[in-house]
């Protein structure tokens, strides 16, 4: 093993336009359900790209297709210039995937898991052992290297799972909900790893349900819902298109809820979403000034507020705004 050779940085622009992942009209149905319904994506080489969406949006299905685990029903895709369907082996040679559920052997130790993968990928004898030990050290798992994985905490498991994807440096790394179920410290650790990998030139495509995670990590975000891509852009673009804040109001008089929703919609150009509590509404706003004006408009109409607050929009709220917009666009097209 030649440890001194740096990973070559590919700069040539091939027929795929230089994208690490290029997807056109990709589709997959399970029975009646269109899990992925014609998605287009282009992921630039070396970028961190996030697929953001709720459970069941089709993110995982999309990723599993790109990792050659399931065959698409329609559309085309290439990974590092290799066609997904025609050249699955070449695709597998340029990717690694860390799935949502730890793809580790619980009965084996952490070191044995990494040794197994090192040997499967062609490291022999001492080189395999050295590689496993390097990864264990880098991922802060040396102390637990000889323990069975079934005794690991969630954070340790996830670290080992990611380490397992880096036995050979992949061109593209797929991470399916890399921080779901982790505590804040473990999440931070995983974020640091993801950034370090991207800094080393690995293209990263990750799925997440957390707006904050996509915002923190990704150069570019695609919002997925019901198998469709409903928005795409940088975090900044999405925020300025949608608003980075969220106004929550609770009415003193629940009977005025429809009036209030109409006022907000007229003022902000977006639909207001009914909150969890009775007589409460929430709506995404671009700026604090806008939120201020919206509250003013409610008061001007004589709608009394029992409570109001400003905050960051939750994924739920962004979704509501996006899907409302998406449906609006579809209507405009007709």
């Amino acid at each position: 093993m030649n440890m001194s050779v740096p990973m070559p940085v590919t700069l040539d622009v091939g027929s795929d336009g230089g994208f690490a992942v290029s997807v056109r009209g990709l589709a997959k149905r399970f029975g009646e359900v269109k899990a992925v319904d014609g998605i287009d994506l282009d992921v630039a080489r070396g970028a961190i790209f996030a697929l953001l969406g709720p459970n069941g949006a089709g993110k995982t299905t999309l990723m599993r297709m790109l990792a050659t685990l399931i065959t698409p029903d329609g559309g085309k895709a290439s990974v590092m210039g290799h066609d997904l369907v025609a050249q699955p082996h070449a695709v597998r040679a340029s990717i690694a995937m860390t799935g949502q559920f730890a793809s580790l052997d619980d009965d084996l130790t952490g070191r044995e898991n990494l040794l197994m993968l090192s040997r499967l990928l062609g490291f022999r004898g001492r080189a395999a052992r050295a590689r496993a030990n390097d990864l264990l050290a880098e991922f802060d798992l040396s102390d637990a290297a000889g323990k069975q994985v079934k005794s690991y905490s969630g954070g340790m498991r996830r670290r080992l799972d990611i380490a397992a994807s880096l036995v050979v440096t992949p061109d593209v790394l797929f991470l399916d909900e890399p921080t779901t179920g982790l505590d804040p410290n473990a999440r931070q650790a995983v974020w640091r790893m993801i950034r370090a990998m991207a800094a080393a030139g690995v293209t990263i495509l990750l799925t997440t349900q957390y707006l904050e995670e996509a915002d923190q990590l990704a150069d570019r975000i695609a919002v997925i819902d019901h198998g469709h891509k409903i928005a795409e852009g940088t975090s900044h673009e999405l925020k300025s298109a949608l608003g980075s804040g969220c106004l929550h109001v609770m009415l003193a008089d629940p009977r005025r809820i429809e009036d209030a929703a109409a006022v907000l919609q007229a003022k902000l150009g977006l639909a207001a979403q009914a909150g969890v509590a009775d007589a409460s509404l929430s709506i995404v706003t671009r700026t604090a000034a806008e939120a201020n004006e919206a509250v003013g408009a409610l008061i001007a109409k004589g709608i009394e507020l029992a409570a109001f607050s400003m905050g960051s929009p939750s994924l739920d709220e962004v979704f509501f705004a996006l899907t409302a917009q998406h449906i609006g666009e579809v209507r405009d097209d007709v």
């Binding site: 082996h89 040997r119 069975q148 880096l166 440096t169």
Partner: protein, 269 residues
């Protein structure tokens, strides 16, 4: 992992080694099967205790009544318990496969640039080891209790070779089940529901002569009986070519039908 800069080194430094051969891939999975024995000794316990109990109970409780004396019974019963053990043990690889699939481990294997059937080769290696260990222990106990293989060393070796063929053939049933059913316990339940009548309605434990005609007719064509007869013949001496061929029939047919089916199911997942 305390700072951002440290992992970069490890990410940048790795040149991809030349792709290993299919055989090398298969050996890694075989190594994994061996590690499992070390880490999950419980399975070895299951594997060995059940046949020991069966051997002791049948030999001493029923042996005298069934064959005149425990020792005479052992002469007939020991080759049979070997067949029973191997068919029951075949359930394990299906359970293991089902657990691997359930946990997503196979997703990792399937996204690696390796020979796609290598994980199954590993299962087979594990099976062969299991069958050999269990078979050797039962034979050792049998010898202690007074079993004498009249076929000699060659007969015993021949018997064990056939035993492995039986384990290999029956293993496919549970590999297919493991691919279809995602819960290891269900694989076990279905497996034993199917195996129990096959094993008990055979000539392993008793001479079918005393059974009602319809049952004796089934026992006569039951592949487990045919396999038992062949192993008895090999280990006891005097096996005919026809008996051995009849004993091999089920393993060969199972492999011919189920191995390709395994491939189709695995690729379709």
């Amino acid at each position: 992992m305390s700072d951002v800069s440290s992992p970069v080194a490890v990410f940048r430094s790795v040149a991809r080694p030349p792709a290993p051969s299919a055989v090398s891939n298969a050996l890694v999975f075989g190594w994994r099967a061996v590690l499992k024995f070390r880490h999950v000794p419980e399975q070895l316990f299951d594997l060995v205790m059940t046949p020991i109990m069966f051997t002791l109970i049948f030999t001493f409780v029923f042996g005298g009544a069934l064959a005149g004396s425990p020792r005479d019974y052992l002469q007939v019963f020991l080759p049979g318990i070997l067949v029973q053990t191997v068919t029951f043990n075949a359930v394990y690889s299906g359970m293991g496969l089902s657990a691997d699939l359930d946990k997503g481990l196979f997703d990792r294997f399937r996204s690696l640039p390796i020979w796609s059937l290598a994980p199954f080769a590993g299962l087979v290696v594990g099976d062969v080891l299991r069958h050999l260990i269990a078979g050797a222990i039962i034979l050792a106990i049998g010898l202690l209790l007074g079993y004498r293989p009249e076929g000699g060393l060659l007969g015993v070796l021949g018997g064990f070779a056939l035993l492995l063929a039986i384990g290999f053939g029956f293993g496919w049933i549970f590999i297919v089940l493991g691919l279809l059913v995602r819960t290891p316990m269900t694989v076990m339940t279905i497996g034993f529901t199917f195996l129990f009548p096959l094993v008990f309605a055979s000539n392993i434990m008793v001479d079918p002569a005393t059974m009602p005609g319809w049952l004796a007719a089934f026992v006569a064509v039951n592949p487990v009986s045919l396999m038992t007869t062949a192993i008895r013949g090999l280990m006891g001496g005097g096996a005919t070519l026809g008996e051995v061929a009849a004993g091999l029939l089920a393993p060969v047919v199972l492999t011919a039908v189920l191995a390709p089916l395994t491939l189709v199911l695995y690729r379709r997942q």
